[in-house]
């Protein structure tokens, strides 16, 4: 019982998260490419509830940050005027945003990068790429795996032999190495959109072997079940058997595999983008946002640039919990 609630809770949280990133143009206060040249590497804006005179307010507000002294990279808050955080503001490009503050103040919840771009907004927009890449690639892999595994398991014979040898080959390859190799030998300078689809295809293609083996095992054992034998004695056709008795057995395993694969694939995208082999500027992905940390100065001084990495942690954690619960449930 507890298991079921864990599953639904996890799915709920994930749905919320995905919903948030898919509606990035609403949730994020700024556009991902919007730069503020006056505020490069600004630390996260502090939200205040108590003003300079000691009065507390219900709604949070911010102060404007200014570089002080000029060009030093050091920022202080200008407490002369408070800018209240407003909700459902209308954005410059039309449409609405969840929250924001009046100009000239800015609400950089997670600070800015070298070009003064809001990290929080980029995080939300970036989530679109990273999270969805994981999901779509996993869908691709599982479909391929299901097809291959079911054919191998049910038909047996030479088809089984070929598919299984192929699976062994793919499993013998260190997947990250192969991933890099394949990706890099494809055109390096392509548009982010193309890169995204390419990424999904490559990641999805590399991982089909493990699900295929699992499905094959399940199909083989289901095929031998006495009730399948009984159905055959009633004259059932292969398709009937697959549809009614065999494939439904794979549902549980497929779901668990999905919960295991998605975080792996998200990580694959993040890694590739981190190394410059994935989605590129200006489109943000959690991977290429982390890439700046390869510079020592950034790593040592600007701690908020680390946060996209931390964003991965709860996502992974939820997927793992989901995988565990699904595994329990389908055992």
């Amino acid at each position: 019982m507890r298991n079921r609630s864990t599953i639904w809770l996890s799915i709920g949280v994930l749905a919320l998260l995905h919903g948030a990133v898919l509606t990035a143009h609403f949730v994020a206060p700024y556009d991902f490419a919007a730069q503020d040249r006056d505020l490069p590497y600004a630390p996260p804006t502090r939200l205040h509830f108590i003003d300079a005179r000691g009065r507390s307010h219900l709604r949070p507000f911010v102060y404007r940050s200014v570089e002080q002294p000029e060009g030093s990279g050091h920022y202080v808050e200008d407490s002369s005027r408070a800018y209240v955080v407003q909700f459902l503001v209308s954005s410059r490009s039309g449409g609405r945003r969840l929250f924001g503050v009046d100009e000239p103040a800015s609400i950089f919840l997670l600070g800015t990068d070298a070009y003064g771009r809001d990290q929080f907004s980029r995080l939300v927009y970036g989530g679109r790429i990273s999270l969805m890449a994981g999901l779509l690639a996993a869908a691709l892999t599982l479909s391929l795996g299901l097809l291959a595994g079911a054919s191998a398991g049910y038909c047996g014979g030479w088809l089984d032999g070929i598919i299984m040898r192929g699976a062994e080959l793919f499993l013998a390859l260190p997947w990250l190495y192969l991933l890099f190799a394949i990706r890099a030998f494809l055109p390096l300078h392509i548009s982010p959109a193309q890169a995204f689809f390419l990424l999904i295809s490559v990641i999805g293609l590399v991982g089909w072997a493990r699900p295929a083996r699992l499905v094959r095992g399940l199909v083989l054992s289901a095929k031998e079940r006495t009730y399948v034998l009984a159905a055959r004695s009633f004259g059932a056709s292969g398709f009937y058997l697959l549809r009614r008795h065999i494939l439904p057995q794979t549902l549980g395993v497929m779901l668990t595999q999905a919960a295991i694969l998605v975080p792996q694939f998200i990580l694959a995208e993040v890694t590739l983008s981190f190394l410059g082999l994935g989605v590129g500027e200006p489109v943000p992905s959690w991977g290429n946002m982390l890439a700046t940390l390869q510079q020592y100065s950034v790593l040592a001084s600007y701690w908020w640039m680390f946060l996209p990495g931390l964003a991965l942690v709860p996502v992974f954690w939820i997927y793992h919990k989901l995988a565990d619960s699904l595994h329990e449930e389908t055992l």
Partner: protein, 320 residues
């Protein structure tokens, strides 16, 4: 004996298959080392074509493949276009470092995993189990990239650990102990990153395997014969759990290799990872193939070791 021979043949066939697959993938891609060169207006098309012919890149796929096979037989694995040197010594140098890193991490991770897994399984839902379970749960959520970056940030902040490389500048002048200490200091963080990344999965599997074995009737029978708990755990449960654990060993080699690639690049350890990345970005074909084959061989080797382990610990396998 027959078992060993079959496995060896099998592994060899696998490696051949992998090499073909990799070759096909890489050659299918548009462009090669010289593609960027062509964009340079100062270099004529003829020069590029000549260079290409020299490197043998204009030949059809099977020909290139055979040439590569010959280079494997010769032992040099072809020519690196970027370094203009033979691939084999280049790779071997780096591979040694990777093996050092991955090997140490493997050993450490397994040792810790067995101890932790046993303690958890010995008293399920006890204090040790909950602590270890909580720890692994937490670690599971942190991807290796973040771990590596985090440790690097730690190094940068505290200044206690060097942030890259395998040896310091004055390495050659140090005495033996000094050299050892130097390498250990440099390796500490990368190894830590790898171990922490691999631990959660390993601990859970050890725990699960031991728990499952503890459910077996012969364990209850041993208890019924008055055999003390500790002896049951180490003398009966652990040997019986050796079978699934040996299989896990093979899989963990794969995971660790992939992990080491990333960790080396991020933390600046001079292993195969950075070499591969460089070669990829420069489209240095033979280096890439060499590196991929090397890791495939390492993987296959790991699986062979796992099979050998299985053979030694499980008499039922020996009977077959």
């Amino acid at each position: 004996m027959r078992y060993v021979v079959t496995r060896l043949i099998h592994s060899a066939a696998l490696l051949v298959g992998v090499s073909m697959l990799t070759f096909i993938f890489l050659r299918l891609a548009p462009g090669d080392f010289f593609t960027d060169l062509r964009l340079n207006p100062q270099v004529s098309a003829q020069t590029v074509a000549d260079l290409r012919a020299q490197a043998g890149l204009d030949q059809p796929l099977p020909v290139t493949y055979v040439r590569w096979l010959k280079s494997v037989a010769r032992g040099d694995l072809g020519l690196s276009l970027a370094y203009n040197a033979r691939v084999a010594p280049l790779l071997w140098d780096r591979a040694r470092n990777t093996l050092l890193l991955a090997g140490t991490a493997m050993l450490l991770a397994w040792l810790i995993a067995i101890v932790a897994g046993l303690s958890s399984a010995a008293r399920p839902h006890g204090i040790a189990d909950r602590l270890i379970g909580g720890g692994t749960s937490l670690l599971l959520g942190v991807p290796e990239l973040v771990l590596a970056l985090g440790l690097l940030a730690l190094a940068a902040r505290t200044g206690r650990f060097p942030t890259g490389g395998m040896v310091s500048l004055g390495f050659a002048k140090l005495n033996l102990t000094g050299k050892l200490k130097d390498v250990v200091l440099h390796a500490a963080l990368p190894v830590a990153a790898l171990v922490l990344g691999a631990l959660p999965v390993l601990v859970r599997h050890v725990r699960a395997s031991v728990l499952e074995v503890l459910q077996a009737p012969f364990i209850q029978a041993a208890r019924a014969h008055g055999i003390p708990r500790r002896r049951v755990l180490f003398g009966y449960a652990l040997p019986a759990a050796a079978n699934p654990l040996a299989s896990l060993f093979g899989l963990s080699v794969a995971a660790l290799l992939s992990g080491s690639l990333l960790v080396e690049v991020v933390m600046g350890w001079p292993g195969m990872g950075p070499l591969l990345l460089e070669a990829i970005l420069a489209r240095d074909l033979y280096v890439v193939i060499g590196a991929v084959m090397f890791s495939a061989a390492f993987l296959v080797g790991g699986n062979l070791v796992a099979d050998a382990l299985l053979y030694t610990v499980d008499p039922r396998i020996r009977a077959r």
